[in-house]
């Protein structure tokens, strides 16, 4: 697998073929909306797989977000289609045909005066059985070739549950980028994914109220690296406080995984002290500057 690159949905741009690996429908919806809003704002035509009974509410949410999606649907800038219409228009899945249709749609968007084309879709339950693992692999490879050479970007949606492991693995292998997790803010701590490295920026304070959530976020990032060595960057210049128990949760996570290294950039003095006292020689933490 190529070097893992994380992209927040708004930062996805032409040439990007991004894997969205989602733990929940809400997370998937967040990424779709961010992706569509950014595409419309960039002047691209945006195609989004969306079942008919969900289209009205989807457009409404985009309108509330300020994307003026109702108008975009009317002008043809935003195209919503059920997944079956995109992937199995003739009752079966043909990777080559589907990829050719994508290339045609990109060319048409440019002809129509748009800056480019963005597409996001996923395999809904009703069509999942119609697509084999080898077809999925072939299709993703065609998409990689298409997006990397055309004024277009794609966000492929996969749910971690329920899915069998093999297709998920193949899907991950076919992408050079992953969509990052949504930012999170509980009023005490805000967690923002980094756009250029695997990692997060933390602002605020970490204690017994949110320490386990932070551990979960870091664990999720580590999982996305698979069995390879995971180096996760934590930008901490905006962090005022970390309690000992939360630092310990991260240390225990790193020790349990065995292949996780947390690079702490500009940590608060208190965290430096805690790491120095409890894990002075540990491979799990790297302090920057040292």
């Amino acid at each position: 697998m190529a070097q893992l690159i994380l992209r927040p949905p708004p930062a996805i741009d032409h040439g990007d073929h991004v894997c969205g690996l989602f733990d929940s429908a809400a997370e998937r919806q967040w990424a779709m909306e961010e992706f569509v809003v950014a595409g419309l704002a960039a002047g691209d035509r945006v195609m989004c797989s969306c079942e008919r009974n969900e289209q009205e509410s989807f457009v409404e949410r985009l309108d509330i977000a300020g994307a003026n999606a109702s108008s975009a649907v009317r002008t043809g800038q935003l195209v919503l289609r059920p997944a079956a219409q995109i992937y199995v228009p003739q009752g079966y899945f043909d990777p080559e045909l589907t990829a050719r249709m994508l290339i045609r749609a990109i060319d048409k968007a440019v002809e129509d005066g748009y800056c480019g084309y963005r597409a996001t879709g996923g395999l809904v339950e009703s069509i999942r059985d119609a697509i084999s693992v080898s077809q999925l692999q072939e299709y993703e490879q065609l998409l990689e070739a298409t997006y990397s050479t055309m004024p277009a970007a794609g966000l492929c949606q996969y749910m971690t549950f329920p899915v069998s492991l093999d297709p998920l693995y193949l899907a991950k292998e076919a992408h050079s980028m992953f969509v990052s997790k949504p930012a999170w803010d509980d009023g005490t701590l805000s967690v923002t994914p980094l756009a250029d490295r695997i990692g997060i920026r933390l602002d605020g304070e970490v204690d017994e109220m949110n320490g386990s959530h932070l551990r979960d976020v870091v664990e999720e990032l580590a999982k996305s690296c698979g069995s390879t060595l995971a180096e996760i960057h934590l930008e901490l210049a905006g962090l005022r406080f970390v309690d000992c128990a939360s630092a310990s949760l991260l240390a225990n996570l790193a020790q349990a995984r065995g292949n996780l290294r947390l690079v702490l950039h500009d940590p608060p003095e208190s965290l430096r002290r805690v790491v120095g006292l409890f894990w002075p020689e540990s491979y799990s933490f790297e302090l920057c500057p040292s």
Partner: protein, 324 residues
């Protein structure tokens, strides 16, 4: 030779295979100080006993001859730097034992000096008492020098109460005032002065800890602590307050004030800590809990822990505050 005078070297070696020997050394002159400690160290090295010397900065200079003769054989700790909080020395000693657990060891440990703050001297005395519990069974002889001529009588009396044996005037003898350390620590011997009138007071337990940390941060900063010490104090406070939330019925009182150039932060609750060694032993860094008060001891210049039927008080002190 006050140590070997109790037995021949051969008998002494056999005798020392036993447990912890804790001896106060009341000295009256620099010459006596250097002579006795020199003999103690030389004797130990002759017996192959690893030796650690923990004394104030000026005493390291006194002992310059001994230390330079054996610079590769003796560990040296500057108590003014590391041992301002006497609880930290316990961790240093434990590591020393672990590194040398195949041997009987020797330690020289001087923690009291004329002019030391009364609160610090009180805590030194309490830790001297607790050492008898913490180090029980350890193959170690600890010699604790006391400046008999210049220390306050209360400090000397506390030394007599907390050491089973005393070297004084060239004679080693049992201390007639030695008191069972559990009984001493559970008596009023080391009770804390009440917080001063007019100290700041707030309750904890009803809001998230971040709101209390903000108060401590603001108070410490206003009292003159620099950002590093403020950060350390806030972290130590958080650990003490977390203990209150978890073990102290979820409710407690926090008081802060300044005293003799120290910012003081006291967390009091109705919980009970029935272990005198709490906060002294190096915790497992990967354990789920049990680190808080040890961490507080590493961060603060002094931590005073008192617990009994009326509840628990943890008083954190950090130097660097504006003097009144």
């Amino acid at each position: 030779m006050p140590f070997v005078s109790r037995a021949t070297s051969e008998e002494k070696t056999h005798e020392m295979v036993g447990g912890f020997e804790h001896i106060a050394f009341f000295y009256s002159s620099e010459a006596e100080y250097v002579d006795v400690i020199g003999e103690f160290v030389e004797e130990g090295l002759a017996l192959g006993e690893p030796t650690l010397i923990a004394v104030p900065t000026d005493k390291i200079e006194f002992l310059g001859g001994i230390l330079s003769d054996h610079s590769l054989e003796i560990g040296i700790i500057d108590v003014n730097l590391l041992g301002r909080n006497p609880a930290r020395l316990n961790t240093v000693f434990e590591r020393f034992y672990e590194e040398n657990k195949s041997f009987r060891t020797r330690i020289v440990c001087e923690q009291s000096w004329p002019g030391r703050l009364a609160t610090e001297s009180l805590e030194v005395a309490r830790h001297e008492a607790i050492s008898n519990i913490a180090l029980e069974g350890r193959m170690c002889t600890m010699l604790c020098p006391y400046d008999y001529a210049n220390l306050k009588a209360t400090v000397v009396f506390d030394a007599a109460r907390t050491h089973p044996a005393i070297v004084h005037g060239g004679i080693t003898q049992p201390s007639p005032d030695f008191t069972d350390p559990y009984a001493l620590c559970n008596s009023d011997a080391f009770s804390l002065d009440p917080p001063p009138d007019g100290c700041r007071l707030f309750e904890i337990g009803y809001s998230p800890l971040i709101s209390y940390r903000m108060k401590i941060r603001a108070g410490a900063s206003a009292a003159g602590l620099d950002s590093g010490k403020t950060a350390d104090l806030v972290l130590a406070f958080n650990e003490a307050a977390t203990n209150t939330m978890v073990h102290g019925n979820g409710w407690g009182e926090v008081r802060t004030w300044s005293d003799s150039g120290q910012f003081v932060c006291e967390v009091a609750d109705k919980g009970l800590i029935d272990n005198l060694l709490v906060g002294l032993r190096l915790p497992d860094p990967y354990a789920d809990n049990g680190r808080g008060l040890w961490l507080a001891n590493q961060l603060c210049d002094l931590v005073q822990i008192r617990s009994g039927s009326r509840g628990t008080t943890v008083r954190l002190r950090m130097s660097g505050a504006n003097k009144d």
